[in-house]
């Protein structure tokens, strides 16, 4: 039976955040004074008038069934006056008005949901991730699964606060890098130019495909009397942008795609300004279901940072202080010609001083 179509643009806009705020948040909006971290995973925000709200941060797998989300709601109803929030890194923050509820709340989160409490202060964040094989049309690897595997391995760094400073992680399942900048990021690399399906290409908007290539490697050509595209192999650096534009430019390769790890990215302007992340190690096998080689490499970086980082130094700041020579020494990753940039602005990344660590 067809549904009668009532739809027209409603343009409702953003939901009213005010009706969603915890009463203490609404009451003290703009009047918070300071905060403390009573224990890992718990924040206490104190308002000018002495009101305090407790936040219990739980790691979530991001992908959840409605049944699980309802359980989350049950807990928030019981201890949080019916309010909660999510963080940009897919944690759930239970907002709690009464200090005495904090411990029972934590116990229930652990028991009923099986979610860990942590991720505040000098801990590892939940890994920011993308859609992967579960729902994107472009991925070279999985996101939800690789993140679950990694977080199993890094669990203690999430629940304990004993890193020099906070560490944010992300994964991206193709070179488009929806995962974004992070202290440690895991990204897919392709290693061949796209394989072109000349039957399928004409369906795509060819000028758009040509235009999207960052190195102008794509040009129109004629195949069997029909318009198609070709790729200049020497120019192509396997970014996969054309695959996003036209599925018939197949860049992924089940046998040869590998993973790379990047370090030292940061968004905040605290201390030094924001930083891009830099290549640490490449060529790690794309190895589901647990990607053990990736976990091992991430672990090496975290251990080295834990041993050598100073308080308030993010990974990039730690490396800035000790130098890249030392970074490669303490992690044991080889420095190779691929660590030297050869894309646009590459020379700005070279050492233009005699500052060398010998």
């Amino acid at each position: 039976m067809a549904t009668p179509k009532k739809m027209a643009p409603r343009d409702n806009g953003a939901p009213d955040h005010k009706v969603n705020l915890h009463p203490l948040m609404a009451k003290n909006y703009g009047k918070w004074k300071y905060h403390e971290i009573p224990k890992p995973g718990v924040l206490k925000h104190v308002a000018e008038n002495g009101d305090a709200i407790f936040t219990v941060r739980a790691g979530s797998p991001r992908t959840m069934s409605v049944d699980t989300v309802r359980k989350v709601c049950d807990i928030a109803d019981k201890y949080c006056q019916g309010h909660l929030r999510f963080t940009s890194r897919a944690n759930i923050e239970f907002l709690c008005g009464n200090e005495k509820d904090v411990e029972p709340l934590i116990a229930e989160i652990n028991k009923v949901l099986g979610f860990p409490v942590g991720g505040t202060g000098n801990t590892l964040s939940n890994i920011l991730h993308t859609q992967g094989w579960m729902h994107c049309n472009l991925p070279g690897t999985d996101a939800a699964g690789s993140v679950k595997a990694l977080m199993d391995d890094l669990y203690n760094e999430f629940v304990k606060e004993d890193l020099p400073y906070r560490v944010k992680l992300s994964t991206s399942c193709c070179t488009i890098n929806c995962g974004g900048q992070a202290d440690i990021a895991i990204n897919v690399q392709h290693h061949h130019p796209p394989r072109i399906n000349h039957q399928g290409v004409p369906i795509c908007e060819l000028p758009k495909v040509v235009a999207i290539c960052p190195v102008a490697a794509i040009r129109p050509t004629n195949v069997d009397g029909k318009g198609s595209l070709e790729v200049v192999e020497e120019k192509c650096m396997y970014c996969g942008a054309c695959h996003g534009q036209c599925p018939s430019m197949e860049i992924r390769d089940a046998q040869t795609d590998t993973l790379t790890i990047w370090v030292g990215g940061k968004n905040s302007s605290t201390r030094k300004g924001p930083a891009f992340m830099k290549l640490a190690v490449w060529g790690l096998p794309n190895n589901p279901p647990r990607w053990p080689e990736v976990s091992a490499a991430v672990r090496k970086i975290i251990n080295a940072y834990k041993a050598g980082g100073r308080p308030y130094e993010r990974i990039g700041e730690w490396i800035d202080r000790i130098g890249w020579k030392k970074f490669f020494e303490v992690t044991g990753f080889p420095f190779t010609k691929y660590h030297i940039d050869d894309f646009k602005l590459a020379r700005t990344t070279l050492n233009t001083s005699t500052h060398v660590r010998l």
């Binding site: 939901p15 969603n20 992908t63 409605v66 929030r85 897919a90 049309n137 046998q255």
Partner: protein, 424 residues
């Protein structure tokens, strides 16, 4: 049509390895859901196939709800023969409440609608900031969208449009916040809702709003227009609390972790008090983070508006850069100044941007100076890290007189080179 209620036994030995371990497992959760939603079982079946083959089996196309040019991420399975219930398996993007704060009432409403019309999978939240609801077909997408909109929700952005905004928790629960991130987020969303729903820009345009330089909304490298809270004038210092901090943590700790980490060295320790050269403070937030009881942002607050950040696709990463060093964002009039600025940028970029050209790439092509002239902003020294170091400049004020009076000459350099070449 396939029987949506018929449950087939699907084996997933590889995924089952993700059922164990201390971190919560989406596999366990979705397996349970699959007991009453066959499509979810098939989703796991296809995912298992991906794990086996290191290969992805989704195709992406476009599906639009009437009157909307985006917001639905359409997916068609290439394994529909094997998994008929996920032949169409779309995601609906939903604009979340600013700061991702939910009452359980509203969150349950989302759950109920999604349970009724979709596969019941939620992702809180996607990388753009939308609440993602996974698992509808071509028909149920409309049913779900209809009911969501009846309840006051709205579809998020996709394509060459303004995207769903995201912001930090801001003044709702953070003492650092220098402006009402949630209020401005809602205001921008509602003001530009048409540009969010009906793509008409050269490419996507993302706003992310953070209440201070800590940038919890990760706006610098992830949004075309970061709005980041800051202040003018003196930082607030409670010297009594400073002394308490020093007593508690010691002098070494205070010097090593606060004073010497200031990027502009504008802080000095005087006995047990702190002195700040406020004119040289760059409002980086470090000292305030460490001593948040003793130090606080100044009282004259606003935001820095930046432009042009984005992640890799096409030209590589670009960092945002300062466009307006300080803008008050307190009253609706202040907010309208921001939307007016955005409108001027969109007009110039809309007319001159190439298809698929993000604003940062556009600035790289035409130059920031050109943008400023066309949007009516004066150059400001805070827009640069330092003045230019290359001398290839066309000083417009000085050029015309000379160009008019110059006698035309033969290009001698070319001649010499030609001679030299022929002799050799």
């Amino acid at each position: 049509m396939s029987d949506k209620n018929k449950k087939t036994e699907i084996k997933t030995p590889l995924l089952d390895e993700l059922k164990t371990g201390p971190w919560p497992s989406f596999v366990n959760d979705l397996k349970k859901l699959s007991e009453r939603k066959p499509a979810v079982g098939e989703l796991l079946g296809q995912l298992e196939q991906s794990y086996e083959d290191n290969w992805n089996y989704w195709q992406g196309t476009v599906l639009n709800v009437d009157g909307y040019g985006g917001g639905v991420i359409a997916r068609y399975s290439e394994l529909a023969g094997k998994f008929p219930n996920i032949a169409q398996f779309h995601t609906i993007r939903i604009i979340p409440p600013a700061g991702w704060v939910y009452s359980t009432k509203k969150l349950r409403e989302l759950c109920d609608i999604w349970d009724k019309h979709g596969a019941g999978i939620m992702q809180m939240h996607g990388m753009t900031g939308d609440a993602l609801l996974l698992g509808t077909d071509n028909k149920t997408t409309f049913d779900a969208a209809e009911e969501l909109m009846e309840a006051g929700w709205d579809l998020g952005g996709s394509g060459a449009a303004m995207r769903t905004l995201s912001c930090c928790v801001g003044q709702a629960r953070c003492e650092m916040a220098c402006f009402d991130t949630m209020g401005v987020t809602k205001f921008l969303t509602d003001t530009f809702i048409s540009q969010l729903h009906r793509p008409e820009l050269p490419y996507k345009y993302k706003f992310k709003l953070s209440g201070c330089a800590n940038d919890c909304a990760a706006s610098m490298q992830r949004s075309d227009m970061p709005v980041i809270g800051t202040w003018r004038g003196p930082m607030q210092i409670d010297q009594e609390e400073v002394a308490k901090f020093i007593d508690k943590h010691g002098l070494d700790y205070t010097v090593n972790n606060v004073i010497t980490r200031c990027p502009t060295q504008c802080m000095q320790l005087k006995g047990k008090s702190i002195e700040v050269d406020n004119g040289n403070c760059v409002h980086c937030m470090h000292c305030i983070n460490v001593m948040n009881k003793a130090l606080a942002p100044g009282k004259d607050r606003g935001a820095t508006i930046l432009i042009g950040g984005k992640r890799t696709l096409k030209i590589g990463d670009t960092m945002s850069s300062v466009l307006v060093p300080f803008m008050k964002l307190e009253t609706p009039e202040d907010w309208r100044k921001l939307t007016a600025l955005v409108e001027r940028i969109w007009e110039f970029w809309g007319e001159n941007g190439l298809e698929h050209e993000r604003i940062g790439e556009f600035i790289e092509r035409v130059g920031l100076g050109t943008l400023l002239e066309n949007i009516g902003l004066e150059p400001n020294v805070e827009m640069v890290a330092h003045p230019r170091s290359n001398p290839y400049i066309k000083f417009e004020e000085l050029a015309p007189g000379r160009m008019g009076g110059e006698p035309e000459e033969a290009p001698t350099v070319v001649n010499k080179e030609t001679e030299g070449f022929e002799k050799a």
